[in-house]
């Protein structure tokens, strides 16, 4: 690590080169001039303070009684509930999760593009105020996670998958908008400038010069976010926003552990499927 390099070597002037380099003592463990030492010390202090200040109840958790309770709890997960009725319910929940993620991502891509236009400075003459304000809005949308958005949106959209879809759309708009804006700014400016000097209006310049250049990049960002959103949509229901998560919190609340186990299995399967698909498609595209 850079611990050794960062330390200024303030030894005496270098002696004439010997056949075998003379042995030197290793540097001291802590040196006030070494940034990495301070960083490590800071991290250790943070970790110690964290463990010290949290009232972690390891004693309750690791006692024989608690361990046997936990064993019983996990034992109740088996056998999973595989009655056809319930499996159908889980399948519907999975489809709902998929639909939520797809629609949320699509809405986010549209809104993200709409916000990315003011957030990207297409040419030197463009104004600064819209760019700064659009970026601020995107950052605010992005820094509130989906689950918090869902909990907020339950008030106006009610329980159910609609709130979840909107929550995904809000958060993803922030993420995609910023990526889109950066992509638009980094597009080669030549074609757009060529159209602009001919007097073509800004909308057409975007549609026929800038957008075709960055479209593959925008598509791959969107697909990547979709992959993330499927995972997020699976747990979003925990606050009541539809999909597999809602089934999970419902049945876990009633301590129906067999059903919970089936739902967990469906979640794992969904995530594994998405991972495999994305891995395969990336392999296909990079080949």
């Amino acid at each position: 690590m850079s611990a050794v390099d960062a330390r200024p070597d303030r030894a005496t002037p270098r002696p004439p080169a010997a056949a075998n380099p003379p042995y030197r003592l290793p540097p001291r463990l802590f040196d006030a001039r070494c940034k990495a030492c301070w960083m490590a010390a800071g991290f250790i202090a943070l970790v110690v303070a964290s463990f010290w200040s949290l009232d972690l109840r390891w004693r309750d958790f690791l006692s024989a009684e608690a361990l046997s309770a936990m064993g019983r709890f996990f034992g109740e997960f088996f056998p999973p509930d595989t009655s056809p009725d319930f499996l159908r319910k889980v399948a519907i929940g999975s489809a709902e999760t998929l639909a939520m993620s797809a629609l949320g991502t699509l809405l986010a891509a549209a809104c993200g593009l709409a916000l990315a236009l003011p957030a990207s400075r297409e040419h030197a003459g463009a104004g600064r105020v819209p760019r700064a304000s659009a970026r601020l809005l995107l950052n605010a949308l992005r820094s509130i996670p989906e689950l918090v958005w869902a909990a907020l949106l339950l008030i106006s959209a009610g329980l159910g998958p609609f709130a979840g879809t909107l929550a995904l759309a809000f958060h993803t708009t922030g993420v995609l908008g910023r990526l889109f804006a950066d992509a638009l700014e980094n597009a080669p400016p030549g074609p757009a400038a060529a159209l602009r000097v001919q007097g073509v209006p800004a909308g057409r310049v975007l549609l026929h010069a800038t957008l075709p250049q960055v479209l593959p990049q925008l598509l791959s960002y969107t697909l990547y976010r979709w992959e993330n959103n499927i995972r997020a949509a699976a747990v979003l229901g925990v606050v009541g926003a539809g999909g597999l998560g809602q089934l999970l919190s419902f049945h876990m609340g009633l301590f129906q552990m067999g059903k919970t186990c089936t739902i967990l299995g469906a979640m794992l399967l969904l995530v594994a499927l998405v991972d495999a698909l994305s891995y395969a498609s990336r392999r296909l595209m990079t080949r």
């Binding site: 940034k35 303070a49 939520m100 797809a102 820094s143 509130i144 106006s156 959209a157 057409r204 991972d275």
Partner: protein, 281 residues
């Protein structure tokens, strides 16, 4: 199409060549999306119903002014620290899981693989560990938290354990990938000359990959701070739990303050992690 008015509007040779294709794909996408729209009960107009609009407006109106009572702010500060502490403690425990798992599952450190194929037992052990890590990683931390809240009760213990398990899986898997990327020559040389596996790790693998490993760990710490807020929503302590409480009581001012604190916290963690990673170079 860009010509001035006097020519008739849509002469065939001046038509936008991309237009018909765009319209077609738009309609096709709409047709494909129809089931999704039905499944998610996508009815945006319900947002403007009077009985939906009024609570929304009341709730949003109560955001202003944000709550700034001294007692409330002290509570928010305490919960913010707890959020950071849960993330840090979780990541520390995740390292306790990830580091041994990485050491045991890294293929480069295999002695039997030096001469052709890896022996059967070490191969099985490495593969089993890898799958364990993948399973740990692919259960979302929120689900772990839900389970642990049932077992250990409400409070930060559930959050710390949830982060430790999910991030342990993530860190272990990615550490393995980092260590196996790049040049394995120094490591195999040490092993061939009779160095132990730990010696090979400390003197060959770690020096080459230390920056990358540290940088990834810091990035994951930042992610853990973000997710520890969310874990509060299922009762695992910290800022999220208070946010959930205030939201259930429709205390808009408190929600506004906590959302602001949360945005600032995420921005700070983001900046700190970016700065540390730049320092590492």
């Amino acid at each position: 199409m860009t010509r001035a008015a006097p020519a008739p509007a849509l002469q065939p040779r001046l038509r936008d060549p991309a237009w018909s294709g765009r319209v077609f794909w738009f309609c096709a996408a709409l047709a494909l999306l129809w089931p999704a729209l039905v499944a998610t009960e996508f009815r945006p107009w319900t947002l403007w119903h009077a009985d939906n609009l009024k609570p929304t407006r009341d709730f949003l109106a109560s955001f202003l002014p944000p709550a700034v009572g001294a007692e409330f702010l002290a509570m928010v500060a305490r919960e913010t620290w707890r959020t950071v502490a849960i993330a840090t403690a979780g990541i520390t425990l995740a390292l306790v899981i990830a580091v041994p798992a990485t050491l045991l599952s890294t293929r480069v450190l295999s002695v039997s693989a030096l001469s052709g194929r890896m022996a059967r037992l070490p191969f099985a052990l490495r593969q089993a560990l890898r799958w364990t890590l993948i399973v740990l990683r692919s259960v979302p931390e929120l689900v772990w938290a839900l389970v642990f809240v049932r077992v250990v009760g409400l409070g930060p213990t559930a959050g710390v354990l949830a982060i430790a398990l999910t991030y342990g899986g993530m860190l272990g898997k990615v550490y393995g990938e980092i260590l196996e990327s790049g040049d394995d020559h120094p490591c195999t040389t040490l092993l061939r000359h009779g160095g132990g596996r730990l010696q090979a790790f400390f003197y060959a693998l770690l020096p080459t990959h230390a920056t990358e490993l540290t940088s990834y760990t810091i990035y994951r710490w930042e992610c853990a701070i973000r997710s520890s807020v969310v874990l509060g929503f299922v009762g695992a302590g910290g800022l999220g739990q208070q946010l959930d409480n205030s939201m259930k009581m429709f205390a808009g001012g408190e929600v506004a303050t906590m959302l602001l604190v949360f945005v600032v916290l995420v921005a700070l963690a983001d900046a700190a992690s970016a700065m540390l990673r730049r320092l590492l170079g």
